[in-house]
């Protein structure tokens, strides 16, 4: 559950945009990823080694500063966007 704040993009008036990526935890079955792998194989993509299928959220929020924004997004992830029992999440900051 790494929250790597690589680059905080601060828009006008303390507006931040985070990108949250949520994937099944490594040891947890990812049936969707498997199904897509198989399907790509059937269509003839044979170089594919592995697919992980996850979710991605773009969160635009206002906050006083980077730290607050970061803290808020982290809480959102834990409370709503990701299910820590079966999923890992990462947060990145993007410019608008």
């Amino acid at each position: 559950m790494t929250s790597q704040a690589s680059r905080h993009a601060e828009g006008p008036e303390g507006r931040f945009v985070a990108r949250v990526l949520v994937y099944p935890r490594a040891e947890v079955l990812d049936p969707q990823g498997r199904a897509i792998e198989d399907a790509l194989g059937r269509i003839g993509f044979d170089g594919v080694r592995r697919i992980r299928a996850g979710k991605s959220f773009e969160v635009a929020l206002e906050a006083a500063d980077e730290e607050q924004a970061s803290e808020a997004v982290d809480r959102m992830c834990r409370q709503l966007l990701a299910n820590p029992i079966v999923e890992d999440y990462t947060v990145e900051w993007v410019s608008e």
């Binding site: 969707q32 199904a35 897509i36 198989d38 399907a39 059937r42 299928a53």
Partner: protein, 239 residues
């Protein structure tokens, strides 16, 4: 009429359609495995409901690439009849045999309820048992039935009269509350320009016998096998 029902891994309404076509309507009916490349002379091809490939990614997206779909496409392009029910409708969208796409239902939940449909066209063989304006009751059971396309594409669809069924209330009125999955323009079923390919979200095969308390769907399946020959459009009913 010789009918073929395509079985994909994850199809789960295949037997239900088979039951109605074969036992209720007494048509020569067979299953077609998704890996086959020929339709074995079937005049009506049904893509049944279910969760092909688990509906992972997007409903119908993976089935659209099955070997048999090339044959289904040729059949459709030659004017042959193709009926897609629920997951089958989603496949028709994913293959581009019908226009548009599906999103998750408006409230993001699976919906298993009876809905009312208004018949918008009666000049198609499919609807030969109905009259325009008829209100039918049919079950829906899906999580991704929220039909969408671009504004222009929808206008085009309407202009060409390709909307065959719409969600309405019991009195036949278009009410937002009756459009449970949130489909654009309350679209429940559409056909292609030629009228020989039909897709709809509700399940006519689940309401085709008196014993189940509802026979409103029988007409559609009867229409699907009506007329004979390879023509899917009702012999030029002037419309």
């Amino acid at each position: 009429m010789k009918c073929g029902i395509v079985v994909f891994p994850g199809s789960n309404c295949d037997h239900d359609v088979y039951h109605v076509l074969s036992h209720v309507l007494e048509q020569e009916t067979r299953f077609l495995w998704h890996q086959e490349t020929s339709l074995e002379g079937c005049e009506l091809v049904v893509l049944p409901g279910g969760f092909s490939y688990g509906d992972y990614l997007r409903a119908g997206s993976m089935a659209a690439h099955s070997p048999i779909m090339a044959a289904v496409r040729r059949h459709a392009e030659a004017g042959g009849r193709v009926l897609g029910i629920c997951n089958g409708f989603q496949m028709l969208l994913e293959t581009g045999l019908l226009p548009g796409a599906m999103r998750r239902n408006r409230d993001l939940r699976f919906l298993s309820v009876d809905v009312h449909l208004r018949v918008e066209r009666d000049d198609l063989t499919w609807c030969s048992s109905y009259r325009r304006g008829d209100v039918l009751r049919m079950p829906i059971a899906h999580a991704e039935g929220n039909y969408v396309d671009t504004g222009e594409a929808l206008d085009e669809l309407e202009r060409r009269g390709q909307v065959v069924f719409r969600y309405v209330d019991a009195a036949g009125r278009r009410e937002p509350a009756a459009n449970l999955n949130g489909s654009e323009r309350a679209i429940a079923g559409i056909c292609n320009a030629g009228g020989n390919v039909l897709g709809l979200m509700p399940h006519p095969e689940r309401c085709a016998e008196e014993m189940l308390g509802n026979r409103d769907g029988l007409g559609l399946l009867a229409g699907a096998v009506a007329g004979g020959g390879r023509v899917g459009v009702l012999a030029a009913a002037g419309g």
